[in-house]
């Protein structure tokens, strides 16, 4: 078997001496199994012998591994920290209950019954927003139990909008990809859209928000209409039934440093098509 492999390899390399090569080719003519084996070796060598593709793949694999590393390192770490906190909390509660119910408490000695609720705030404390950082908005009289929405630092991600960014494109009818940039005061947005449903002239709008949780979706910083241009119909790029469009938007905006989110909508659709973010 090893000899057979070496013979095939020498044949593919062109190093098989002439008489042997002719004999081998004659054998190939009459032996379909051998011919299939040689073909398989040829394809394997051609694929796995491509040095530049090898280097490219190795680079991609390294990047791919590094890309998932933060998510994987972060999540279990957070989870185990949460588990530890929960464990401590449960332990404290159980210990308190045991103490409360089973410790003989002589009437003469006033023993302070440990407050069961007391340990509870400590594990949750890091997640609570300090009172002095709370927004000075007044809660509506109809919902006095609502806690005020806290301000967050201007560069901190807004979780609700981040989820939409990660899920974008949000519509399968209007497949959209866009990118916005802010250079000095020049805001530009470029995007592409594939859709069989888009009617020419239908208005598409861009709405810009800062990162503050209380401002989305009711308090945009800026709104404007996006220019939509159909990409040349003769261009070879197109999905069978869909047309391709180029989206363009420019505006002059004076924004302080921070994280901003932009939302793209089309008239007649309740849901946003795309939510992106940019930093200033």
């Amino acid at each position: 078997m090893q000899e057979q492999y070496e013979r095939i390899e020498a044949y593919l390399d062109g190093t098989l001496p002439e008489p042997e090569r002719k004999a081998f080719e004659a054998e190939l003519e009459g032996d379909k199994t051998l011919a299939a084996e040689v073909e398989l070796h040829r394809r394997v060598h051609r694929t796995l012998g491509n040095a530049s593709e090898w280097a490219f793949r190795q680079n991609l694999e390294a990047i791919s591994e590094a890309y998932e590393a933060p998510a994987e390192n972060g999540k279990p770490g957070n989870r185990s920290a949460l588990r530890l906190l929960l464990g401590i909390l449960i332990l404290i509660i159980v210990a308190s209950l045991l103490y409360y119910f089973f410790m003989p408490a002589p009437d003469a000695e006033p023993v302070e019954p440990p407050a069961i609720e007391q340990p509870a705030p400590s594990p949750t404390a890091p997640e609570e927003v300090p009172k002095e950082e709370a927004v000075e908005e007044t809660t509506t009289p109809t919902a006095p139990e609502d806690t005020p929405i806290a301000n967050i630092p201007p560069d901190q991600p807004n979780p609700a909008l981040e989820a939409l960014v990660a899920a974008s494109p949000l519509s399968s009818t209007y497949e959209l990809a866009a990118e916005a940039r802010l250079s000095n005061q020049n805001f530009t947005l470029e995007g592409e859209m594939l859709s069989a449903q888009y009617e020419e002239g239908k208005s598409m709008t861009l709405t810009l928000f800062d990162n503050q949780p209380g401002n989305y979706p009711d308090a945009p910083l800026h709104t404007g209409e996006i220019q939509v241009m159909e990409i040349d119909e003769d261009a070879p790029i197109a999905f069978a039934a869909k047309k391709a469009y180029f989206l363009d938007y420019e505006a002059t905006l004076d924004l302080p440093a921070g994280l901003y989110y932009y939302v793209i909508r089309v008239d007649g659709e309740a849901e946003a098509l795309w939510v992106g973010k940019m930093e200033r």
Partner: protein
């Protein structure tokens, strides 16, 4: 070509680590969203994304390559096709994305996509080998001489290196043959 698109194409053409990292940051989340919406997981998205970049890598090596669309349109179109093909093979009619998923752009691209699917069979089999076999075969396929391989692998003799090469290649070939895609490939 827009400057950002040119930047991405150059990153692929030159195998530029930093540029490729930016590509992952910028586009993988969007491709993941698409794959998740169509019955896949993030791991599938990574595979499809990587394979799509390899298709583009091959495409940009062509002397007459010209990007006739936006870069993301091209990337997204290739990912759609690759994932559509895999869905059809994997789950028959149970899960499917719309019939119009076929990306018809870029001359010669459909041939490259087909080639990519074929070659993936060999790469998948190769990845299943042990580390020493992978290393040995990598050098062998790169046409490094067996004497040099024996030295690099710290084998006692060239004869032993040849024997190991045969054993590793045999494992590779058997794994390829055991894959359901093999019979499909050889019947083409």
């Amino acid at each position: 070509m827009r400057p950002a698109d040119e930047h991405y194409i150059n990153a692929i053409r030159n195998n530029d680590r930093k540029g490729l990292q930016q590509l992952y940051q910028e586009f993988l989340p969007r491709i993941s969203a698409f794959i998740r919406k169509n019955g896949g997981r993030d791991a599938d998205a990574k595979d499809v994304f990587q394979d799509a970049l390899i298709v583009i890598f091959k495409k940009v090596q062509e002397a007459d390559f010209q990007l006739t669309s936006g870069f993301y349109t091209l990337l997204y179109g290739i990912c759609r096709n690759l994932w559509g093909n895999r869905l059809q093979k994997k789950s028959g009619n149970e899960v499917s994305i719309p019939e119009d998923y076929k990306y018809t752009g870029e001359a010669g691209l459909s041939q490259l996509l087909e080639q990519q699917e074929e070659e993936q069979l060999f790469w998948d089999a190769f990845r299943q080998l042990g580390q020493d076999c992978q290393q040995l075969l990598q050098w062998f396929f790169a046409k490094v001489k067996m004497a040099e391989i024996a030295e690099r692998m710290e084998y006692s003799s060239v004869g032993y290196a040849k024997k190991r090469k045969f054993q590793c290649k045999e494992q590779l070939i058997q794994r390829v043959k055991a894959d359901a895609r093999y019979s499909e490939l050889m019947n083409k």
